[in-house]
């Protein structure tokens, strides 16, 4: 009964988004306000039914209703309840369900927080989102129904893939999807602006907070995924350049470019065409990511042929969304004016150059991800493109990006001069240079390659920090009051940028130090043995057994001591899940601000003495990688909370303002 209600709710949601995706758009172009007014109600109604459907699916998982195929394939009577809930989005059907639900949530949010927008704009934005919802709901209902029944009903389910039975599964997919799907709002705003022919600073201000919010979710989603892989896969890597990861990195890169481009469009009225193009690309890449991950094409081109219906459907949807929006773009973009002008040396140029670098970086990731697929499809041989390739092509792009990040944060809008820039940045440059040259030697490295890599990493990190401080100094120089007041007067959007940029520096420090100084020991240990790395000692005390709800584990007890003093016990496990018979490694980590101590069990060695192959790591500063991402997210959130969004929202409803001035001409104001 419950699954049928869910099924029915999905159909009702589809009917509602069909209205949402058509009538308001027609109404907006013909000026029929009753039709435009439909957009809000239908979006909210669709969200209600989508929530109901997701609720029904989660309920089916909680009660383990194995008459539902999706539940039978991904749950088990022994699966803990929390993972049954997570299993709701663990399968293909469930994750598309989640996608559609999130899209409904964002649409509903737009319908609520758009009181200050012109009716026509709201109708167009929600109309475009309705069209996207329609495509995905059709995909869900026609090819991946999460409520399909199974008869005869099995007594036991197949259990959730053990890799996914982890707290990461509860948070990672929802956050990631919030980000992916959130970019649909930026996309919808861009398409709506193209449709209405109103591409101006106001449009940029409306879509900015939405874009930043989506970006924050995506950042957190990627962060959780990275951390999860780090502790779950058992050998301490944090990024693998796996196609699935790349699928989430691409929208992140272009989304980052989009955020910055939107800032320029809002503040200076320029880059309009480029911003619209980025908004279209960001969401297209989110869709492409879904296609890559969900069609099975990544494991092999042939997996695609096993179930071509799904793949073809997403491919068609992708073609429709990308092709349609790009056609509209090509048709409308030439009519958009160029907006504010600027000189070659200016903040605009720095931001534009960084946009180009981010786009090129994204293009490179796309090339590396799709290339093996194309070669295979064209029967030109099978190749693997992995970390060595991506590191070789990605890092050289990041160095100029980081350099310009520092310059862009202090350069003046419209026109800057080199002597002026030099005056503002010379201290930053000097400190960066000293730090980059001295630190590798202070830290005891002498081989040329490792010194060069460390120097590059430290240079990038210190450059961002010092240039950001120089920017801060510039801003407070002319503000009156005590130092504290000076800082307090800065708007939150500035602090947002500051925090996010420092976050990038923290991230780079983490990557540099862990790459340069991590110590790995692959050892064979019998209870009583010790292994020392850095000033830490791991003592293998004993081997035990533990039975979990749906697995049986061999559990090692290790004592970690620092300079001879015991710190804590660590319990790495090797788990065997009943339903899958797949061994899973659970690493034990002693985590601290300045790094992690990491133990994971390899394989038992048959010598009758309980010996195991064990991997131990000292990973200095590895946590900074994630702290950096957290700072970036906080920066984004700070920027969204900036006062001017609330103030301008109130003012716009209050009174129609004077005709807008050409922003470039206000420079002196």
């Amino acid at each position: 009964m419950i699954p049928e209600i869910g099924q029915f709710a999905l159909v009702l949601a589809l009917l509602l988004v069909m209205v949402q995706g058509t009538l308001p758009l027609i109404g907006a172009s013909k000026g029929i306000s009753a039709w435009m007014a439909l957009s809000r109600r239908t979006a909210q109604g669709a969200f209600f039914f989508l929530s109901l459907a997701l609720g029904c699916l989660i309920y089916s998982f909680i009660v383990n209703d194995f008459s539902v195929l999706n539940v039978a394939n991904n749950s088990n009577t022994k699966l803990p309840v929390i993972y049954r809930i997570a299993a709701s989005w663990g399968s293909h059907e469930g994750s598309i369900m989640m996608w559609v639900f999130m899209l409904g949530m964002w649409s509903c949010a737009v319908s609520i927080f758009s009181k200050h927008l012109p009716e026509e704009m709201v109708a167009r934005v929600l109309g475009v989102m309705g069209c996207v919802s329609m495509g995905l709901l059709l995909f869900l209902l026609l090819t991946s129904n999460p409520f399909d029944r199974l008869f005869p009903v099995p007594l036991e389910g197949r259990d959730l893939n053990p890799l996914l039975q982890d707290p990461g599964m509860i948070l990672h997919p929802p956050m990631l999807y919030m980000g992916y799907v959130g970019f649909s709002v930026a996309f919808a705003f861009a398409v709506a602006a193209l449709l209405g022919g109103r591409l101006d600073a106001t449009w940029a201000r409306w879509s900015r907070p939405w874009t930043t919010l989506a970006w924050c979710f995506l950042t957190i989603g990627i962060l959780i995924g990275s951390w999860w892989a780090y502790y779950e896969l058992g050998w301490g890597g944090w990024w693998f350049w796996d196609p699935v990861e790349n699928a989430s990195l691409m929208p992140w890169l272009v989304g980052t470019a989009l955020m910055h481009s939107l800032a320029v469009t809002e503040k200076r009225g320029t880059f309009k065409v480029w911003t619209v193009l980025l908004a279209i690309c960001t969401f297209s890449l989110s869709l492409l990511g879904t296609f890559l991950v969900r069609s099975g094409i990544l494991t092999s081109v042939h997996a695609f042929a096993v179930d071509p219906q799904r793949g073809m459907f997403i491919l068609a949807l992708l073609a429709l969304v990308i092709g349609g929006s790009l056609a509209l773009f090509a048709f409308r973009a030439p009519k958009v004016g160029t907006g504010g002008t600027f000189k070659i040396i200016s903040r605009e140029s720095a931001l534009l150059a960084n946009n180009v670098l981010l786009a090129v970086a994204c293009g490179t990731v796309l090339l590396g991800t799709l290339y093996p697929l194309f070669l295979d499809a064209l029967k030109l041989g099978k190749i693997s493109v992995g970390p060595p390739y991506f590191e070789a092509v990605f890092v050289p792009l990041m160095a100029p990006l980081v350099f310009l990040m520092g310059v862009g944060a202090v350069a003046r809008w419209k026109e800057a001069t080199l002597p002026d820039l030099w005056a503002r940045l010379r201290w930053a440059a000097a400190i960066t240079l000293v730090a980059a040259v001295a630190l590798p030697f202070i830290l005891g490295r002498t081989s040329p390659t490792s010194v060069a890599l460390l120097a590059l990493g430290f240079a990038m990190a210190f450059w961002i920090i010092t240039a950001s401080l120089a920017g801060l100094f510039d801003r407070v120089k002319y503000v009156e009051g005590s130092f504290r007041e000076k800082l307090a007067r800065q708007p939150r959007s500035f602090w947002g940028m500051f925090a996010a940029h420092i976050g990038v520096a923290v991230f780079i420090i983490g990557v540099t130090v862990v790459k340069g100084f991590e110590i790995e020991r692959d050892v064979r240990m019998t209870p009583g043995d010790t292994v020392a790395i850095s000033n830490y000692t791991f003592r293998f005390e004993s081997m035990g057994e533990r039975t979990g709800p749906n697995f049986h584990a061999s559990r090692g007890t290790f004592e970690l001591s620092k300079n001879g003093k015991p710190v804590r016990k660590l319990y790495p496990e090797k788990r065997m899940y009943f339903a899958h018979g797949m061994p899973m490694t659970e690493a034990a980590i002693d985590s601290g601000i300045f790094g992690d101590r990491y133990v994971s069990l390899g394989e038992p060695i048959n010598d009758g003495k309980d010996s195991w192959s064990v991997r131990v790591y000292h990973k200095p500063f590895v946590t900074w990688i994630w702290y950096g991402c957290i700072l970036m997210t906080l920066g984004g959130l700070l920027a969204i909370s900036d006062r001017r969004y609330r103030v301008s929202a109130r003012r716009e409803t209050a009174k129609p303002s004077l005709p807008p001035l050409e922003p470039a001409k206000l420079e002196k104001a």
């Binding site: 494991t299 070659i344 090339l367 290339y371 240990m525 010790t530 850095s534």
Partner: protein, 157 residues
Amino acid sequence: MKKFLLACAISVMGCWGGMAVADEAMPTENDPVAQKRAVELALKLRCLVCQNQSIAESDAELAVDLRQQVREQIAAGRSDKEIITFMTDRYGDFVLYEPPMKPATLLLWIGPLLLLAAGVVAMVFLLRGRSQAATESAPLTEAEQARATALLEGRES
């Protein structure tokens, strides 16, 4: 800052400090240099039976065998290049995470450069157009001037 650098220097430099403890665990590989090489090589080689993992990361039987193979060949004094050739002869280019440069992969390797070049060229054209427009930008009209003055004097925001 100083304290912080010191902490990080200590944590990094003291690495091989307490080596000579009584029951020191047996490393699976005795020679640390060979061990490092083996790990670096293993990271470049794909475990053919896994989803997408290098043989360094995987615990699959094949990965364990190949790791052993790599170690043995290093012990036998083979160079990295010889070992990689040995692997690609047996398993094809698919085993290698760093695709070799050959006609079919040419676009893969020069693609990023082409993209960058295209981006830079497009940007240069755009900037030149813009900066010319900037020098020619028209003066304010009278109404705009009036509003700008109003803004400057704080009568409006």
